[in-house]
Symmetry: D2
Amino acid sequence: MIIVMQKNATEVQVQHVLEFIATMGLKSHPSYGEERTIIGAVGETRGREGLQLIAHLPGVEKTVPIMTPYKLASREMRAADTVVCVGRVAIGGPDFVVMAGPCSVEGEAQTNESAFVAQKGGADVFRGGAFKPRTSPYSFQGMEAAGLQLLRQAGDRVGLPVITEVVNPEDVDLVESSADILQVGARNVQNFALLKKVGRCRRPVMLKRGMMTTLEELLMSAEYILAAGNPDVILCERGIRTFETATRNTLDISAVPVLKERTHLPVIVDPSHAAGHARYVLPLAKAALAAGADGIMVEIHPCPEQALSDGPQSLRPEVFYRLMDEIRFMANLLRPALRRAS
Amino acid sequence: MIIVMQKNATEVQVQHVLEFIATMGLKSHPSYGEERTIIGAVGETRGREGLQLIAHLPGVEKTVPIMTPYKLASREMRAADTVVCVGRVAIGGPDFVVMAGPCSVEGEAQTNESAFVAQKGGADVFRGGAFKPRTSPYSFQGMEAAGLQLLRQAGDRVGLPVITEVVNPEDVDLVESSADILQVGARNVQNFALLKKVGRCRRPVMLKRGMMTTLEELLMSAEYILAAGNPDVILCERGIRTFETATRNTLDISAVPVLKERTHLPVIVDPSHAAGHARYVLPLAKAALAAGADGIMVEIHPCPEQALSDGPQSLRPEVFYRLMDEIRFMANLLRPALRRAS
Amino acid sequence: MIIVMQKNATEVQVQHVLEFIATMGLKSHPSYGEERTIIGAVGETRGREGLQLIAHLPGVEKTVPIMTPYKLASREMRAADTVVCVGRVAIGGPDFVVMAGPCSVEGEAQTNESAFVAQKGGADVFRGGAFKPRTSPYSFQGMEAAGLQLLRQAGDRVGLPVITEVVNPEDVDLVESSADILQVGARNVQNFALLKKVGRCRRPVMLKRGMMTTLEELLMSAEYILAAGNPDVILCERGIRTFETATRNTLDISAVPVLKERTHLPVIVDPSHAAGHARYVLPLAKAALAAGADGIMVEIHPCPEQALSDGPQSLRPEVFYRLMDEIRFMANLLRPALRRAS
Amino acid sequence: MIIVMQKNATEVQVQHVLEFIATMGLKSHPSYGEERTIIGAVGETRGREGLQLIAHLPGVEKTVPIMTPYKLASREMRAADTVVCVGRVAIGGPDFVVMAGPCSVEGEAQTNESAFVAQKGGADVFRGGAFKPRTSPYSFQGMEAAGLQLLRQAGDRVGLPVITEVVNPEDVDLVESSADILQVGARNVQNFALLKKVGRCRRPVMLKRGMMTTLEELLMSAEYILAAGNPDVILCERGIRTFETATRNTLDISAVPVLKERTHLPVIVDPSHAAGHARYVLPLAKAALAAGADGIMVEIHPCPEQALSDGPQSLRPEVFYRLMDEIRFMANLLRPALRRAS
């Protein structure tokens, strides 16, 4: 951490800061310039609450952190890519992974049909929501436990591992018992009680970035799960909230190279929630692949007009098949090149 | 809801939409213009999932909702202001309410001293965090149950009701048993499992707006609590996330008149979290009062340099006393005028 | 335009609105629902100032525009893609166009060397700034007229057309006399005096989206140029301003499919300004191509450490050559597919 | 400026940075920590383009600026408040200044009537737009030169100085010849050609913050005007663009205390453009006063239903009179207190 003193800071104020740093068990390196004094504080600064108070000491203009606040999630801690394995699927490895399925599990027929479409199209993982976080209390809230069972059965029937969202710490054990990957949704990215709980379970966790979450905060939330003992964390960019209203959210495509640089964890892109319109999903899926993402998650529905949630952004089966054709064609050509480039 | 058909929509497509509306149990009012057809769908539309699918039907260009998606929280439902009473304190009535206390309960001495300062300054409610939602897993996470007890004792000692945050549905019963008001923090504004749980408890709930939550979404989250049976909801504006970095968040002062217009629920402003710097708290507190808020929540600490969290934005006792003098002076002059104006 | 009346609007108020619509020369289509009345106003509404006043009439709750406010820029007006030709380069056609060059023209050697690198790498257009809009008055403001001349000479030497920014209406004639394409920068996207002026010149204009400009506003700014008589407008997405600070701006990759849907004008992406770091330019350039952009503009510099502006985001020659290899490889494979898909 | 070296930076890389700093004419102060080396670069750094290139040198992780990039606008340069005098009106002094008038000058009767209302209500300055920057080329663009004349005559008739916007450097001389204060609008806050031009004129300039402009950038734009020789700059906060759509823009009320701390220039708030709805103008005007602003600018119209621009946010005469009563009442009570507090 660097401490910048005010232009007119007194020598007594500087001494006060140096003593404060010493009592925190850190070493200080002051530089006395003509205009002002600058002090470096060196040592283990993570989790040292007191450090932020330095900004409050008399004579201090501002403080500047040097180290990233996350540790286990960082590339410095682990240079090699983490590959999360679920059955035969390896997320974060050379293959471009596709997770597909309906927004919500709505019933047996719809779930089975969706699983069939996902498998026929060549998806690697089947998705579906049983617990739905909805803005309105009057909206469909999901089939809950019954939905989990339908999802599991549909996945087994077509031979695909399943991913589903968990929204309440109380439900983690139940969801863990029937899903292969647990998803923490965008609205819960800083639900720390939930993060700690999924950090203690034995299934991989896909953590979605919140609409308002910086990449650094996303990595801090991943750190909660890693620090609780679960090494299998997958990150997911799904669009952030901006002033632009042409799309439901703004897909932050730059998040892909930035995250791949800073962390060893796999990075998935969800173009469906970012776009909010089925017709933009294909170009955004291709962009995600081109930018270096490890995979995508897309919403499909056998009949989007009848979906109980997110119908407008769900792909019809024939559109999904075309997306898979184009994505597989591109991935075969680009992934080897991407590997070499990295 | 209004449905705007595409310029080149066919008569068959228009019929299809009209039938869809009828199957939803709604009445339709088509207007056939020269350029395009516009259809109004009238009836109870809240909680009707299917309606959003109309946007997906062939020939439809867009749909426009007419009614607010919240109901119990709306002024249309209840014209008179809701006044939430906690002991002798009435939130949402003619008095301007001040909630003050430390960010975190850190120990007995600090809590008692803070409560003494709050009471001496003339605060109405004592605040303090026992369960802390922190960005980093390595930061102080709060004293939890022990902290709740210290808070309760300190409040009782100075005769002030207490407010504290709850972050996990599993802790709601515990927090309800020792606090007078439960707070749902900004990061949990769309933690629907938590909202449902506090909606079933018998204590008032103060719901903070999230950093990227629209006012409509805030009202929808309040609706979750109201719909679960708890009528005593207090809203709190605490700054939203924008591109500006001079302050920790951007206090959306316009939220005050907008919320007072749309809902009957009391509106509190938290200038401490919005500003992130103690020196901006006083002008923002005054602005909140002038804009028509029902009260403020401010962070104080007997010694901000030693605070375990949010020290830089906490007020020293003498600064808090000055704030209270200026606020009480202004409130005495303005509140009657505000009443008349509304 | 649709007018939604308040729940308790009187019949007199509805009549007042109907008369107001009639005096504007439009036809009205009222729908009388049980809860409220909705009125459609049909006819040519573009440029009808008075229409927005309807929102202000007694009894009106809100108004909803139906038509896009731009006309010449819209796909409805012209279904086929506009192809802007500059010498042998066709922007908006089947080829993926690359514009490359230094942020600023700094001197003869640097300009000639940059042009050589651009041409050797296979760029189609040579870029360079002679008039520089800089945040600080103390920063290098560009070589102005002398810079224009160096740019022209360097372009001619390597046989590439040149593009350069114009910041002042007074300079449009001068810039038009020596550049092949005029660029209007992000900060001038709503400098209407400048837009009108370039709308009257005979050279193509590349219009950059502002940091906080919606896509609709960008199209309205393009409409200014088109309405003034210049049909050769190229749009450029270069990142918007959001809360995320990991990149200089947030590249709104969804802007590509949204713009390609709404307008016939070519769409270029500038990954250099969006990212702000040279190391993210290649993945973002690929994403732009994959999403369907018609080309990219990238900053290169023979020696970025010595650049007078934007050094950190400029590509070294060898990195640029690699980018061109990868982009050309991808474009050869994907562009035919993109064409078929559209 | 502080340079933070990478964890694994070599001694040669550190030496390279030290030499680079020396060639820029600055002194360096390296601190060799156990984990990494940190280097302070001290001296006059404003306008030193080369400095940003340090971030690009091998082994450098990041650089951190220490000094504010503006100089003439800073409180460090001038501790006392700047008071801009226009006739008998002193902006930035003890009185709270009110500027009022219509968005656009639309004709003689409307202008005279508006001036009469402004004067009768007790405004200090009369505003009105002759050159209008409009999003759409099809919207009313202002009466231009004729409008300037009407504005001048109306101001003279009621004895109020006038303020009006200038949008084109070519018009500065014309506007200067008939207005008392020139306004640079939000969309032109980084139109540097215009800033330079108004910096050379002899009238005070009110500079509005852009929708996308940070406070630091606003101060840099003010610096352009000051550096060109014009000391009479007034800043105006008018709302920034965020995700919230309940108001036209989000009034950044915190800008008031932040600017008053950082600069000696007067700060005005425009609640009309921020809110976009007449009914929110009064509470926001009061909030501006309470937060310490030096004045407000509000839009009024004798008959908002007939306004050619911004009708919905314009105040009717009787509402304006009430606003003035409440504002004057508050200002009389609070301004002395505000003075003492600062």
